[in-house]
């Protein structure tokens, strides 16, 4: 059931007969990082996941030494789950959508550096989900019983929200952000989710709680305006716009919020 779908689109790089991949390894969180080199046969249409699968099946380095199979995370392989994010040739991105034909060789694979490294290419991104909890990234429902449809909405507003709602919590924006380190900045991902819910007619009703979530010491004011996040986002989410809008909201809330109390 196979079919060759890709006619080689890259003209500048003539594909070599093999693919050379350098992987930054770590046996466990307490072990040192080391590099290992692997070489696998070239095939058209290879993505990084396919390369890793090939190495996993027969984990022998380029030098011919048998080693442990590299460990990574993967799930949807369609760039919607976000789990397979790693640093490829110096840039954080999803390994499923990273095609060998479009990458300079040797290809380097490293774990993301802003999160605890579990093993090899696996990192622990649970802090991102903790941040979602902190900013109350949800609509407060009265209950899940049938109350009819939600509020009517303009398609334009829906489209703006849809852009934020595509965030797959992959962490590329945080890896690229110079401020995101050592818990000193909540980061663009969570701020964009505040935007998503503060734009919703019902979500808006709990706007203040969300703003408070991004007004703590590690909050939105720590953004250094490097604007790396928006360039790094694989879903093209307008992260800097979200930061701008929420910054404005927090300033107004900071100035006049006390009047409500």
């Amino acid at each position: 059931m196979s079919a060759h779908l890709r006619t080689s689109s890259s003209t500048s790089r003539v594909p070599s007969k093999t693919v050379e991949i350098h992987i930054r390894r770590r046996a466990n969180p307490d072990a040192p990082q080391t590099w290992e080199r692997f070489e696998i046969p070239y095939r058209p249409n290879l993505n990084i996941i396919s390369c890793l699968m090939e190495i996993q099946q027969n984990p022998v380095t380029k030098e011919g030494t048998r080693t442990t199979p590299p460990v990574w995370q993967m799930n949807c392989l369609e760039q919607v789950c976000g789990i397979c994010t790693m640093v490829i040739n110096g840039r954080a991105r999803q390994s499923c959508s990273a095609l060998v034909d479009n990458l300079e060789q040797p290809i380097t694979l490293e774990p993301m550096s802003k999160f605890p490294n579990v093993r090899d290419l696996v990192v622990d991104r649970s802090q991102m989900f903790d941040h979602l909890r902190r900013v109350h990234a949800w609509v407060e429902l009265d209950g899940t019983h049938d109350l009819g449809p939600g509020p009517r909405m303009d398609q334009e507003d829906v489209q703006e929200r849809y852009a934020y709602s595509r965030c797959m919590t992959c962490g590329c924006c945080l890896e690229a952000c110079p401020q995101y380190e050592d818990d000193n900045y909540i980061g663009p991902q969570a701020i964009a989710q505040v935007r998503l819910f503060n734009m919703h007619p019902t979500g808006k009703m709990n706007r203040d709680e969300r703003l408070e979530g991004i007004m703590e010491d590690d909050g939105i004011t720590n953004c250094g305006n490097a604007q790396n996040c928006v360039k790094a986002c694989p879903m093209n989410i307008p992260l800097t716009k979200a930061i701008y809008e929420e910054n404005r909201e927090t300033v107004i809330y900071g100035l006049f919020g006390w009047l409500k109390r």
């Binding site: 060759h4 046996a27 199979p69 369609e78 899940t144 819910f197």
Partner: protein, 595 residues
């Protein structure tokens, strides 16, 4: 925390699992939620096109009964009708609930929910959020469950894999065992009821449209512990996927719902670029053969037609591929309604579908079969329930597009109160309670220890590939008894060779090898259920097609296949289908439906 000490374990954090978790937490009870991956990364994110519900805002006279009729007709009358009807009746309120949660559903000019067409219906019945509806719905439930998590009602065990049920001496489910995927520690988790919501088993076929967690492993473990598995032979092969080295990526039916057309050049060996081929030299074979539904015939039919066209050498460039063409649709419509899926195509293939017809081929997509459940999502094991793709109810012999999301949520919403009811009334564990936990824990630890210790020349990944290839070649679109028999022999051979694998990772911390080895064994057992179920069923119905038995045979086969585990392999029995609401009639999509 829980008001009365009930704790319910949910296995799987996709739409069905999260739907159940939300309902149970809302009712004030405690939930332990187990998931191999963080729940927000579950396979539900891959659903693209939309969610069905007969809201009838288009003035087309749609109704929940019409949705119900389309569902059982599309499923070739193998579905028990009462739950299918109940799902269709609940569907509009499910869509409205997601609307209230803030899902960015596409809108009409008046700001109402927009609906598009999907396969197997003549109505605009599918609500959608761009072309990433599953992602959007999953996120909405993820958010609501996080809210309950923040309130202390839900405890998540992410990166934990469920290995088995804990059954007491009366075969009552008392909890489960699960393995921490970093430390490989196995623990017993007591629960008053367990809901399986683990999705489909696509990885049995090696490459499919499924995510990598979709092995069916946990469900297979339940089957091996006595849960009945129903209609396993009904595997949906989606007509339009993008073949890849690592997986078959889905190209949503919504592409056809929005007007996409399937065609091949009329001329074999055509060399011209597709845009240079004039209209009259294109063969729109679905539109020609099925004038009433055209490109929106149900999936089993579209898949067989595409398969046959390629088998006859009419595939594009003589290969196993046909065109799926959306180039005639205005760019702004494509971007708004199909943007996400067209991006996926461009990302992985390199061509822009706005300008070049996509090249697609069928790929294994969905299991209509699954754990047997009653009309309240209860399996035959007391205290064990199931919801979503891992249960067999609702879809019969073929699932209609955009019915999966609604069936997941429906299943979760029915399973939750049923689990609460059981948990409230079941006598709690007696003094021998501790023993059943300890003995199951020990059994699981022994399986791990044996796998780690054994050494042999077989490679677990090679075995997986061989299983996938045999299953894909012989137990998908077209099925022959001889080949099914040979496949079962092959599976037995693989089960034998499995005894000689060695785990190729000496570092067990966060290893992928040991969990995969466990999946592989469970997949092999489930593969036999699928293959032998197909061998036994000598008729053609929905996704199950045998050229030697080309007709549906209601007299002999209007019945549900039930497989039960034994040491010698699956034991099959059959039970009648509840067709009490709509008498079975022949499917014919060349004509409009008469109900």
């Amino acid at each position: 925390m829980a008001t009365n000490g009930i704790k319910i374990a949910i296995v799987g954090g996709g739409l069905a699992g999260l739907a159940a978790a939300m309902k149970i937490a809302e009712a004030g009870h405690a939930v332990d939620l187990f998931s191999i991956v963080p729940v927000k990364r579950s396979h539900s994110v891959c659903a693209q096109g939309g969610i069905n519900g007969a809201v009838n805002t288009k003035g087309e006279g749609d109704s929940t009964w019409e949705h119900f009729d389309d569902t059982v007709y599309g499923g070739d009358f193998l579905a028990n009708q009462p739950p299918a009807k109940a799902m269709c009746e609940m569907a509009p309120s499910i869509i409205y609930l997601f609307d209230r949660m803030g899902v960015p559903f596409s809108r009409t000019a008046e700001g109402l929910l927009d609906f598009r067409r999907f396969g197997g219906t003549k109505h605009h019945r599918t609500a959608f959020a761009g072309a990433s509806t599953g992602q959007q719905l999953l996120y909405a439930l993820d958010e609501q469950v996080r809210r309950h998590e923040a309130a202390g009602k839900v405890k998540k065990y992410e990166h934990w894999e469920v290995l088995s049920l804990i059954l007491d001496d009366h075969q009552v489910c008392r909890g489960l065992t699960a393995m921490n995927l970093q430390t490989l520690e196995i623990k017993a988790f007591p629960a008053d009821a367990v809901i399986m919501a683990t999705g489909g088993p696509g990885l049995i076929y090696g490459k499919s449209t499924n995510s990598m967690v979709c092995t069916g492993s946990a469900v297979s473990a339940c089957y091996q512990q006595g849960a009945k598995y129903a209609n396993g032979e009904f595997i949906q092969v989606h007509p339009t996927s993008i073949p890849g080295e690592d997986k078959l990526r889905l190209m949503s039916e919504s592409a056809r719902g929005e007007g996409g057309r399937v065609w091949v050049p009329r001329q074999k060996g055509e060399q011209r670029a597709p845009s240079a081929i004039p209209e009259k030299e294109r063969w729109y074979f679905l539109e020609e053969k099925y004038p009433a539904y055209g490109n929106l015939v149900p999936r089993d039919i579209a898949t067989r037609e595409i398969f046959q066209v390629c088998l006859d050498g009419m595939g594009v460039s003589g290969e196993n591929q046909v065109f799926l063409d959306v180039t005639h649709i205005p760019a702004d419509v494509l971007d708004r309604k199909l943007g996400a899926i067209l991006e996926i195509y461009e990302m992985f293939v390199g061509d822009d579908p706005h300008h070049v017809p996509m090249r697609i081929f069928p790929g294994v997509h969905y299991s209509m079969g699954g754990l047997w459940v009653d009309f309240n999502q209860r399996t035959n094991i007391s205290g064990l329930l199931a919801a979503g793709e891992c249960d067999y109810s609702i879809h019969g012999a073929n699932r209609l597009g955009a019915n999966s999301l609604v069936s997941c949520v429906y299943g979760g919403f029915i399973a939750a109160p049923a689990a609460i009811e059981w948990a409230t009334n079941v006598p709690h564990n007696g003094s021998d309670g501790a023993r059943v936990y300890e003995s199951e824990l020990q059994r699981q630890e022994e399986i791990n220890a044996a796998l780690i210790k054994q050494s042999g020349t077989e490679n677990q990944y090679v075995l997986h590939q061989e299983m996938g290839k045999w299953m894909t070649d012989n137990v998908t679109v077209v099925r022959y008894n001889e080949k099914l028999k040979a496949t079962d022999q092959k599976l037995l051979e693989l089960i034998d060779r499995y005894q000689h694998i060695s785990i190729n990772d000496s570092n067990l911390w966060a290893t992928m090898a040991l969990p995969h080895a466990r999946h592989l064994k469970n997949m092999l057992d489930l593969a036999r259920v699928i293959t032998l179920g197909a061998l036994n069923r000598n008729e053609s119905r929905g996704a199950h097609y045998k050229p030697d038995f080309p007709e549906r045979d209601d007299e002999n086969w209007l019945k549900t296949t039930i497989a039960e585990y034994s040491g010698e392999g699956p034991v099959f029995s059959y039970e009648p289908v509840d067709v009490s609401l709509i008498p079975p009639r022949k499917r014919d999509y060349s004509k409009g439906k008469k109900t």
